[in-house]
Symmetry: C2
Subunit: 784 residues, 2 copies
């Protein structure tokens, strides 16, 4: 069902490279804070104002996050049961380092007092900066021009910086600038919507120590349960020709450098603030303060501009690789760039962290990592930044032990069961029917491993990490399923939940069984490959995990005999054994305001009906595109689309891609619109709690896999591009087996170009195309 | 599966009318406190010692409960969702009134100091008293004989009393007796087993007021959330020929009357303590203290013995009606009497309260009322005390409004959905898959209503209460189910949980569908009866609940088209649409200590297998005995028995009854043994947290419906008795349509006798029997 609200008017002016806010508006502030977030995959800061926020408390959340830095808390259950996830992990809102307060004599600057003569805020996606340019007239009539620029360095993950400029416009006199760190922070509480905040109830950070000198401030804190140490430091550098004095202030968890300046009308005063974060998740406790000091010293020595340039250089390279140009549609151009920019801002690149459902922009879903990474986000990195893609998979290897432990808790004698949601590896889902029951995450991860190997040919990864993950997950499936006489002795998987969370704890979920089959098969194939070519590696793993030779054949047998539900009458694949035996949801009598259903109906009411939150069978058909004909896809699409609400932000991109493939071009475009601008246009009315990273990854897929029809099937690259009616053209580049290929689609032609690497063969529709050095091949577009 | 631990050695000596404890044992104390509980359906007291308990804290729980007196608390969810039960209700542990402390000079009596020369405790089921007779030698060598008798009056629900007698055996000197009320009480916390305690975290009672005079003490308290007022009062009466002085002490929530006696060797000192409880659930706040004082004044005027006699008279009548005599098996005789006694002690008789899963003996399941009442306990009262049976149903009528509200929360446009567990009507289940999803409770209640009308012919109940309940529940079923094309357009019910909690959220649970069919049919029949004979009542209800004429025909249509799963190959009724498609639980490799499974396996692991906690299909076959042939019952029994763990205490009685019916006499006996002595022999290892009232009701059913084969089918009474091999005979009486019939079974004959009421016809096997006044009919027993 394509819902009416799928086309919305943007609240930000359309611009290809910038997000611009021309007026300050309390009504949109909560959302703006998300949209204007900055991050570098490690540090994330919401677009909060440096001076703080004096508006209503429900229109703002102050937020600074460090990827992978978390506190635990016992999960509370009204009725506990065996094997329930015991502890929640919550990405913390950490020490607020953005604070710069400004006083004109005794009048404190904020957006709610005096007179805002002019206001402009720009998020530059090209430069990775957030700038604010304000002319403010104080209640007593003093005017200042304030220009603030901040960035979080992509060149040094521990560094952020703010350049704060003040010019008195109509007076000379006292101006005070106070730059602070404030460690008295809290996490947002969950309330009734689990997608909002966290269940953490205690104060997440306790003060261990603090230091303050004339320009340097450091706060050392500890998390009570996880016992992590956090060091947050700032170095302040005032640049002015005016006279000034300094004051240092320490109160409780706060340190502050204050500059009292004898300002002259028209003369610029600049404060450069360098910020750093270090935690004991990366370094030993003893190293943290020296590291922080070192980072700040070097940063100050380089100066704001030099640091910024280094940051921009990284970003330039990123856009060179990842930019998707859309010609003739500013809204979508802006949307896709915004999404790619946020993916980069959110992604952990150290093999110990990953990418949270809301990135580093909010506390929704507690900063947890889900299957979103592998199925929705991973492809973007795989085809643009395969090194980052590897790091995402290395993260999964790093939590393999936790997954083994979880498998034992779930009564599996062998294998590993990846947590549905986690930060550090422990299962954190407090509602198992749409959590632990989603066993498919195991295969989702292996799907990404398989694709990674296919696209990068990085055998080193397979041998060091991948093979062990593949074997342990294959084992789990073998233990989970069974050969059921009533199902013709096929291998069946009972009591799991598929991707569609509006149907829970079912038997033979099509997606799960399909993916498990692949996982089992891949286990068998990898085992054989290793036995054949890397026997020492095979033996090492075999010994490590006590793998029996028989097991490998059991995997193959289970894969070969996997039960896949099929309905003859409708000629479609039922989502599970019982899906088609339920009444269809009464969409006609469901008022608009009752979406998303999960906020208006008890789970049982939802589960009782044919209604999908997101694609399930269709997702399998997208992931295994070559194993289903276009006709089959169309039939299934036609069945499932009318019963899908897209209440999940993971839905529309897959519908867009499949719609492209089966020639529903209008639908493909509409779904893409929604996908690409989910946060900018706040389609789900919850972007204030953070961006939707999976959907952002889905945007890229909708173009590359959808409109351009890219697939990799049995190691072979394929394209099948078309141009949406509203566009003049689009262009993107991908990395594939070490090559970099540009694809440029306009009204008449598709132009392929090899930018880098050895010659390459691929398919355009049914045509074979070969590209060598710098060559360009132009193919006329086929209109379907 | 009949497990090995089904025969256990009793820790209490076998005695037909008493439970006796001959030695005090710390190891069994926690259990003893449950076993020696007293109650009158309103007040309940665990068998705690008057002087308190100095043993390890995990071997005792101090407990005093008032049926229906509860506090609420928000239920905590790791991930909340729409429609979840919001508030828990917890039966409170109230002001402790049992306290009587004894000091021999400066030495305080308790069971852990000095020397316990002799000890005996007796629960007399004939007299409803708990007595303790102790000779204690103090550390300094002073000996006293202490005799304590207490009862909770069945003649006055607000009264309890303790008769405390001390005789100094080898000394004259100071003896102090201190009688107190202590309002500083707490509820037991749930820990990891939801069957243990409650999730209430706050102090449940706050002090409002207290009074203390020379013999009278009163404490007034309030519950913070429910705002109920509780008044607990005591009147102390010292009887001694020795000189004594008095002291009154008030500390915080405690009031105490202290008697310092100049005791003489060999001279008896007696303290009679009269205790009363009143709450604002029964009376206005202003009335509570006067009521309490009045009760105490009258009680003291009558004296301990007179009060006790009034209590015993009620009990005598009870046994006259309810006693089941078992000849030749002391263990089972003791077991069944213990169970009946506790049923009487637990049952609320005011139409506002009901019977909790653990009666008034512990805090397990938070004192909630479940379907246990209607399906397992109700028959005992129906055939022995129909007036109490009516009160139990009136309770359900009293919460009908809550059930309507709950139905709306669960998206049902019409009808009422009874809460799975509650005290005052609000749904309190914090785990909906084995809570709210158990929709069958609606039909269970209506089943009891139907049986009640059938057995008592009490039309007054039907017209005042029953019909409205029947209509509102029928409506719910009509709204819940739908005609499913894939199921031949039969009426199907999806996403519910049947009685078996080891299988959750299934489609077309056989039991649920079967019971719903009855509920719908009965709705149609009652509507027609009313239209026919009580049109004014019909119109009143119709108007009240906005009943449309069409609805009645929809009920009939749904009932006629109800889908009932049937498996041709096995010729059995599958528990639900998918039960037979799951692998059978690996019983062989499940260690004994892993039972009950729910404490050792994640719910998903259990749900994934063919394994039952309790009967489901078989329960329907027992409840609708005449609708299934013996052969069908046998086939289904043979299938389900091997996959049933009896981890629920609601399991064995049904197996015993069906085993009786199909001629598995040994099994019937073994299951009965377990049923009858579940608490005395602590088969589930959790009787310390309270008795199992449903199983207690099941004991009576196992004899009357099982061994004696009693059924009521279409208003016709039937028997089909046999005598278990180990017995010499058994005898019971039942009430049926105003008649009282005695059934006496010995090795050769069954003797029927009409004790009361008009002539009656019934069946013995296929024989028709007529009984008139005082007549006796002897029928030779048939051995099958």
């Amino acid at each position: 069902m394509v819902r009416d609200n799928f086309v919305k008017e943007s609240i930000y002016p359309l611009h290809e490279w910038n997000i611009i806010e021309e007026n300050f508006d309390v009504e949109t502030n909560y959302l703006d804070e998300t949209i204007f977030s900055l991050g570098n995959g490690y540090i994330g800061m919401r677009g909060n104002f440096e001076e703080g926020y004096n508006g209503p408390s429900d229109t703002s959340v102050e937020g600074t996050y460090l990827n992978g830095f978390y506190e635990t808390h016992p999960i509370k259950y009204g009725e506990p049961a065996f094997g329930y996830a015991k502890n929640g992990q919550t990405m913390l809102n950490v020490t607020n380092s953005k604070i710069i307060k400004l006083y004109i004599d005794d009048e404190e600057f904020n957006m709610f007092s005096g007179n805002l003569v002019s206001y402009k805020r720009i998020l530059s996606m090209k430069k990775g900066t957030l700038t604010r340019d304000v002319i403010w007239e104080s209640p007593k009539g003093k005017k200042v021009n304030i220009k603030i620029k901040r960035f979080i360095s992509l060149a040094n993950k521990h560094l952020a910086s703010i350049n704060y400029e003040v010019v008195p416009l109509n007076f000379s006199g006292k101006i005070t600038i106070a730059s602070a760190l404030d460690g008295d922070v809290k996490n947002l509480q969950t309330e009734n919507d689990p997608r909002v905040g966290s269940a953490l109830e205690h104060q997440p950070l306790t003060l261990e120590d603090k230091f303050l000198s004339d320009s340097l401030g450091i706060i050392v804190q500890k998390t009570p349960n996880t016992k992590f140490t956090l060091v947050c430091g700032m170095e302040n550098e005032l640049k002015t020709t005016c006279n000034f004095s300094k004051e240092n202030k320490e109160i409780e968890q706060r340190v502050e450098n204050k500059y009292i300046i004898d300002a002259t009308e028209g003369e610029k005063i600049v404060l450069n603030k360098y910020i750093t974060y270090y935690t004991s998740r990366d370094y030993l406790d003893d190293e943290l303060i020296p590291k922080a000091k070192e980072t700040l010293t070097i940063a100050r020595k380089k100066g704001f501009e030099k640091n910024l340039q280094e940051h921009i250089e990284i970003l330039n390279k990123f856009w060179e690789h990842a930019d998707v140009e859309i010609k003739g549609d500013k809204a979508l151009q802006q949307g896709i760039r915004f999404n790619e920019f946020h993916l980069l801002q959110s992604v952990g690149k150290d093999g110990k962290t990953n990418i949270a459902a809301k990135g580093l922009t909010g506390q929704g879903y507690e900063g947890h990592y889900f299957w979103d990474t592998e199925v929705y986000i991973f492809p973007f990195f795989l085809y643009n930044y395969p090194k980052i893609a590897r790091k995402l998979l290395e993260y999964r290897y790093s939590i393999l032990d936790s997954a083994r432990k979880r498998a034992r808790e779930m009564a599996h004698k062998k294998g590993a069961l990846y947590p549905w949601r986690t930060i550090a590896g422990e299962e954190c889902s407090a509602y198992y029917p749409a959590g632990t029951a989603q066993y498919h995450i195991n295969a989702d991860i292996i799907y990404a491993v398989k694709k990674y190997i296919e696209v990068t040919e990085d055998m080193d990864f397979l041998l060091k990490y991948g093979a062990e993950m593949v074997f342990e997950t294959a084992r789990l499936w073998a233990d989970l399923g069974s050969y059921i006489p009533k199902k013709g002795n096929k291998f069946c998987i009972d009591s799991v939940t598929g991707p569609d969370e509006y149907t829970a704890i079912v038997n033979n979920n099509f997606y799960t069984n399909y993916m498990a089959k692949m996982n089992l098969e891949f286990g068998y194939d990898v085992a054989n490959l290793l036995k054949d070519k890397y026997l020492d590696v095979y033996n090492r793993i075999k010994e490590k995990i006590n793998l029996e030779e028989d097991e490998i054949y059991e995997w193959k047998k289970a894969a070969d005999n996997m039960y896949l539900p099929y309905d003859e009458e409708l000629d479609i694949y039922p989502q599970d054994d019982n899906f088609l035996e339920k009444p269809v949801w009464d969409f006609e009598n469901t008022p608009k305001e009752n979406y998303p259903l999960l906020l208006h109906y008890h789970p049982l009411v939802i589960y009782r009906h044919q209604v999908c939150k997101q694609p399930d069978v269709l997702l399998a058909m997208y992931l295994y595109s070559d194993e289903f004909t276009k006709e089959v896809k169309k039939k299934n699409y036609d069945y499932y689309e009318p019963v899908t609400t897209h209440d999940s932000s993971l839905s529309t991109c897959v519908f867009s891609i499949l719609a492209s493939e089966i020639g529903y071009n209008d639908k493909a475009y509409k779904y893409f619109m929604h996908t690409a601008r989910i946060d900018l246009d706040n389609y789900h009315n919850n972007s204030q709690h953070g961006v939707h990273t999976a959907c952002m990854g889905g945007t890229w897929m909708s173009v590359v896999n959808g409109f351009a029809g890219m697939r990799v099937e049995k190691g072979q690259l394929k394209f099948n591009p078309y141009l949406p009616n509203n566009w003049d053209g689009y262009r993107f580049r991908i990395m594939f087996k070490g090559r970099r290929v540009e694809v440029n689609v306009d009204r008449e032609n598709v132009t392929y170009k090899l930018l880098d690497g050895k010659p390459i063969n691929f398919k355009h529709g049914s045509k074979s195309i070969s590209l060598t050095d710098d060559e360009m091949v132009k193919v006329p577009i086929e209109h379907n």
